[in-house]
Point group: C2
Chain length 230, copies 2
DNA sequence: CGGTATCCCCCCTGATACTG
DNA sequence: CAGTATCAGGGGGGATACCG
């Protein structure tokens, strides 16, 4: 009779919490709100989530009317937010802004991950301020193991590609520094200029690209929020 | 090294989700946002949560800087929201509004609970439209077992008391009907007038009080939200 | 690429009792 | 009243392998 997972409360907060507050769920929603639609695309945003669990969550969200799964262009299933799901945007974003304001940055910076960071940067890179030609930006994190040290963002014709293996193009700009510094920049906790001055970051190559980096390197959507804690 | 419960992501959404999205947590926050401060007061709002777990969650929220526990007037511990906790209000309320819009009401109405309903009504009853004298409203749910059938709201000098045992006062108004009907009214899914007309609800006693019931019987904070699903 | 299947463990959770 | 102690059970979810 009594559903095990249910709070047993008619209150809309409780009903909503049953849908939203299971492990990984809001992170999956965050990925979908950011525009990911394919299974493996979603996985890149939640790499530590097992595919079985991601599949289960997607089905749950579909059953709840939040996600619609339908074959896309080439018959491949695409997951999209329903209108109900789209209306979760202010809630998920609100959680992010709250986290940015109230979670100690030291705590966040314990969770460094170059793959997630580069993936985020790829998504938010601003193409317009860049030269119209193809540009290749190489990121290097010297302190990391070889297989996670090198990343390339290739901007070409308005599209941005992220590579973890050398695409072979001539590199226009090298961005070399600690993963912690670049993550802090991404989160709006510091700036490129400050980290360069502090020798945590080095820009090598095209001077124009280097000078305009704060124009084209997008920051986290939450970077502007004023912090209330250290 | 790697914290087990952590998502391992620096993203503020993930950090916030670690704090907010464990079982029962948002319901505890809802209670605190509604004004409850004492342990057993909180328990009344989450009756199916074990005291051990409530205690654990309160400690977690305290560690996260969301809740402040401090001895109150008579040395009894009182739990209050910190500024960070208070800033969760739009998020928790947002979840409620979203639930009201997008969760099928049939689903909510599977979770009927007279104790929660009466506790909510006690909290939101509007004293001003009532006569200045002491008023006793008796609620009866004939279909329920004897021990959950009878409830009394006693309004006296601006204070509202909820009793599940007869306080002994003369009753000014009897509200008799199905728990489902009264819950639906509380949630804004229907109105007193409609349920009376449909014979799901009966008002007996003081005609003035009966006539003004929609003035003094407060509704759920989410009742006004326009529904998008059945 | 896009998922299932399987295994298994740990911890969450619920229940009950108890204590200051 | 305000919790803590203890215990048992179940399932959530992590890891890995596998399949179409």
């Amino acid at each position: 009779m009594e559903d095990k997972g249910s709070y047993g409360q008619f209150c809309p907060v409780a009903m909503a919490a049953e849908v939203l507050c299971s492990r990984w769920t809001v992170l999956v929603l965050r990925e979908m709100l950011a525009g990911s639609t394919r299974f493996n695309e979603l996985r890149r945003g939640v790499p530590r989530m097992s595919p079985a669990l991601l599949s289960k969550r997607l089905k749950e969200l579909e059953a709840a009317g939040v996600v619609v799964a339908a074959p896309g262009e080439r018959g491949v299933v695409e997951y999209r937010l329903s209108p109900a799901g789209e209306e979760l945007r202010p809630i998920v974003m609100g959680m992010g802004f709250w986290g940015q304001r109230w979670i100690e940055s030291q705590l966040s910076l314990k969770n460094l991950d170059p793959s997630l960071l580069m993936w985020d940067m790829r998504r938010n890179l601003r193409v317009e301020p860049m030269p119209p030609r193809r540009c290749t930006i190489a990121f290097q994190y010297p302190e990391l193991a070889e297989n996670r040290r090198h990343w390339w963002l290739v901007v070409n014709g308005g599209a941005v590609d992220l590579c973890s293996v050398d695409p072979g193009f001539e590199v226009d700009l090298y961005v070399v520094g600690s993963l912690r510094a670049l993550t802090a920049i991404w989160m709006g906790l510091t700036t490129v200029g400050r980290e360069v001055a502090a020798k945590q970051l080095e820009l090598l190559g095209d001077a124009m690209l280097a000078r305009s980096i704060e124009q084209w390197l997008g920051l986290s959507p939450f970077a502007g929020e004023t912090r209330k804690v250290a």
